[in-house]
Symmetry: C2
Subunit: 175 residues, 2 copies
């Protein structure tokens, strides 16, 4: 069965590093970076949090790419800030187009102090500052089903393989 | 009417610079970089010239993204090595999904000496070396309808606006 991993969580939590490494563990896989899809819009660009229409378009694009990759028998790793309602819409579209696909939804999490610490470790131009905490706050407000939330506060970033194994093997992430 | 520009040509000819600037000239536009779509495959990656199957998948992805962007009323600029048979397949798919779309196909061209000169000006990690000439040779062998070929050998790179105006206004590029 082909798997789609939606690796979500606030900015700075480690989505890209985790997704990249996860994609490399499969013989056949594709890595979709949502930010990059959103930034394909050039003329008339608006950030996702300012326009629901632009965010819907990005998710349509992510879904169509995923369908093509699944049909080509590749596991798909999606790296994007994904809230439950977006995962629901995505999942419905996918299941109406492809069979034998398992969707896993993982909201990576760390506590506020660790989030600030990790953000500060990123390259200057990728640091999000206060926006990290705003995004974390949004996840908290959405009251996400705790089974999808993976708190990695106490896991040292060098132990990433442990995180990857849990994401792959723990059935609680299955959507 | 929404327009799709396929900016093709051998590596080093200036596809990315031209496409980027072109996209910025529209109020509503999207820029699809084919290389980037192809590199979404991580596990089992093969370069496009080694696998027709992988190239077909990349064009499927480019087409689906284009359809979504056209439906969102955005002009689309595609930056990729595109040969006539790929443009034909792409064009058929597009026209069966969206109406009122005009496809323009531009094969940017410079002579061999200028191609080598421009390649050497790129950052080290982007230089293609002999591969530039191989690709140019492939375009020559395909005997592309000359109306799609835009020879910019004698246009100084600083006169990019002249190139952009020609691409936008000259009807010979209409597919």
């Amino acid at each position: 069965m082909t798997q789609i991993y939606i690796i979500s969580g606030p900015a700075g939590v480690g989505k890209s590093t985790t997704s990249n490494k996860l994609a490399k563990q499969f013989h056949h896989s594709a890595y979709i970076k949502g930010d990059l899809i959103h930034h394909m819009v050039v003329g008339g660009y608006v950030p996702p949090w300012e326009s629901e229409e632009s965010l819907t378009l990005t998710w349509e694009n992510i879904a169509d790419l995923s369908i093509n990759f699944v049909q080509a028998r590749k596991h798909v790793i999606i790296d994007y800030v994904a809230f439950p309602e977006e995962v629901e819409t995505f999942s419905r579209k996918l299941c109406s187009h492809v069979k034998d696909v398992e969707i896993k939804y993982v909201v990576l999490w760390v506590d506020r102090a660790e989030l600030i610490r990790r953000d500060a470790l990123r390259e200057k131009e990728h640091q999000m500052g206060a926006r990290c905490l705003e995004l974390a706050e949004m996840f908290t407000r959405k009251k996400i089903d705790q089974r999808f939330v993976y708190d990695t506060t106490s896991i040292h970033p060098s132990a990433l393989n442990e995180v990857l194994s849990t994401i792959r093997d723990d059935t609680r992430f299955t959507y």
